[in-house]
């Protein structure tokens, strides 16, 4: 029961068949029994969690509950969480205790969710494997020799192993969707501006997007309902009327619930080196969508192959600016020995940042420097426009765009550590949604020859969250990929 999706747990809580204290205790025990080999959590707090669970039970008893009241959650460690260590997976913030909470953290707390811990991640959210954390790599619950994806790998692994029914992540180039795919869970990147970035420790401000992980599309909609909203503390937060992202998910709708849905299939995906098992799983999913009434149309995204180079100019440029704040003066690590102020900055940053973060800061510094700005940064912003225009043309012919979330299923730990560009090419299908700002979800759609999960990405135009959630939901009503759980024996024996 405690490993069920949020919607089932909420029914149990509402019907008083289960209390939040019982649920929270059971999941904390499960984390204690199974969590260690995954290294998914950087902080756990049993006492604080149980205090929140008791408060949630009181709210449930008083009839003052939301659909999320009493449900345990874990937050990616890039999200400021008042009174909790918030490290970004970095030595730089190893001992940093957040003085306030991120907007999405506040919103989920206000809804009555019970925070059980903070999740491990690639350092400063820069990575696609969750191997670059200062606190050691996260491991994939389906096979401990494989990566869970990244950068929100701890959140994805924790939901996949059913240690927690919900977790938050952030997606700058695929950091929710890619680990969701590689770990076999659902991960939603909302439209840029729908969820406030307040308290999200910035990586690339024009791309960073908070979003949820859960077992089902229904659960993602429940979480997004609570996470979305206007916030004057983020100047890019959109002031829109509140939206019920669950509104299309009602039961019924007949045997062909997707009859009016046009699915766009980008021709360019065929040239992107997709693994045969991944291609077969996605083809089978598309056949399922056709049987649900949807039609498929070929669409063109001619600049798709430029999205990775554009991303790896814009994101490092913004990162080099955002991470300038870590200088050993106001917070975070300061080198123990230095000779003067300039040396203090240089040694503090050399010691505090890991190799990938340093590389991206150096790349960003270069593309913003005198004489190279026009050739790289301005050029990347122009190609970003070309890519966004391609998507707008495609959405004249279709309602959603589908394909694999990643070209392959999970890879072995260490397999791509020596070549940053091989790691970056994991992002080929995910970065475009960050460049355009549009929403996208990854849902499980099969397994490869190593029994590792495969993710299907459903992209929509700006503010199409309800549509893509409904599209995912109808697939999940007709299939059971999202209900598959990794065997816990490996986790037990690895303790």
């Amino acid at each position: 029961m405690v490993t069920a999706p949020i919607a089932s747990l909420a029914q149990g809580l509402a019907g008083r068949r289960l209390s939040s204290v019982e649920l929270t205790t059971a999941l904390l025990d499960r984390v204690a029994a199974l969590g260690a080999p995954l290294n998914a959590f950087l902080a756990l707090d049993r006492e604080r969690a149980l205090a929140q669970a008791r408060a949630a039970d009181a709210r449930l008893a008083a009839g003052d509950a939301t659909p999320l009241t009493g449900i345990p959650v874990a937050h990616k460690d890039v999200l400021m969480t008042a009174g909790w260590k918030t490290t970004c997976g970095s030595r730089m913030l190893k001992d940093f205790v957040a003085p306030y909470s991120a907007f999405v953290v506040e919103r989920l707390a206000d809804a009555g969710m019970v925070l059980i811990g903070k999740t491990n991640m690639d350092e400063f959210a820069m990575g696609s494997s969750s191997e670059s954390s200062y606190f050691g790599p996260v491991r994939n619950p389906w096979h401990l020799d494989y990566v869970p994806g990244g950068s929100s790998g701890g959140s994805a692994a924790a939901v996949a192993a059913r240690l927690v029914p919900a977790a938050t992540g952030t997606d700058t180039g695929g950091s929710i969707r890619q680990p969701a795919a590689l770990s076999g869970v659902c991960g939603l990147k909302p439209t840029y501006g729908v969820c406030s970035r307040y308290g999200l420790i910035a990586f690339a401000s024009s791309l960073d997007t908070p979003g949820p992980f859960a077992q089902t599309a229904v659960d993602c909609a429940l979480l997004l309902n609570a996470m979305a909203g206007h916030d004057s503390r983020d100047s890019t937060s959109l002031d829109r009327p509140p939206e019920d992202y669950s509104r299309l998910l009602r039961p019924g709708a007949g045997a062909k619930p997707l009859t009016n849905l046009r699915i766009g299939l980008p021709r360019e995906y065929n040239a992107a080196g997709i693994d045969a098992d991944v291609a077969a799983a996605v083809d089978a999913a598309l056949a399922e969508f056709r049987s649900l009434g949807a039609t498929t149309v070929d669409v063109a995204l001619p600049n798709l192959d430029l999205s990775v180079p554009v991303y790896y100019v814009i994101a490092p440029a913004e990162a080099s600016s955002n991470l300038a704040r870590f200088d050993g003066v106001r917070y975070g690590h300061r080198a123990a020995k230095y000779d003067g102020l300039a040396d203090m900055y240089q040694k503090t940053r050399a010691e505090g940042f890991g190799a990938e973060v340093k590389r991206r800061i150096l790349v960003g510094t270069y593309v913003l420097s005198h004489g190279y700005y026009d050739a790289y940064y301005l050029k990347a912003q122009q190609v970003r426009r070309l890519i966004a225009d391609d998507f707008q043309r495609a959405y004249r012919e279709c309602d959603v765009i589908m394909g694999p979330t990643t070209p392959t299923a999970a890879f072995r730990l260490g397999a791509k550590s020596d070549d940053p560009v091989q790691m970056y090419l994991n992002d080929i299908f995910t970065v475009a949604a960050n460049l355009t700002g549009a929403p996208a979800i990854s849902i499980p759609c099969g397994f490869d020859r190593n029994n590792l999960p495969i993710g299907l990405q459903i992209q929509g135009n700006h503010f199409a969250e309800a549509l893509i959630l409904n599209t995912a939901h109808r697939f999940q009503q007709a299939t059971d990929w999202h209900t598959r759980e990794p065997a816990t024996m490996a986790l037990e024996s690895a303790r």
Binding site: V97, P99, Y192, G193, S206, S232, T236, L238, L306, V308, P309, V310, Y312, V313, S320, D327, G328, V329, R330, Y331, G332, H333, R334, Y338, G340, L341, D343, Y345, Q346, K347, R349, A350, K358, R359, L362, V363, T365, Y366, V367, S369, A375, Y376, K379, A380, Q381, Q382, V383, R384, R385, L386, A388, D419, P420, V421, Y424, N434, L435, T436, G437, H462
Partner: protein, 95 residues
Amino acid sequence: MALSSDDVLRLAHLARIEITPAEGAEVRQKLDRIFELIGRLRAIDTHGVVPMAHAQEVTLPLREDVVTENDQHDLYQVLAPAVAHGLYLVPRVLE
């Protein structure tokens, strides 16, 4: 393009990150791979294309010019590596 050792040291200086000579060669080799990837953009014809700085075409909001922050000096200074008398301490820069 390929970076020289001097290029790497210049970047490291601009970024205020110390890179030792021992690290320099590996950093340079990995940066070269990244510049090979992003260098592809230079060949793309973008004549007349308006740069896209942001995912949403919105103007930044304005608010009344009034103080909205509370004084949280003590809360934030707890986090600093070195403070005294309410001030952040850094190495001396003037003799």
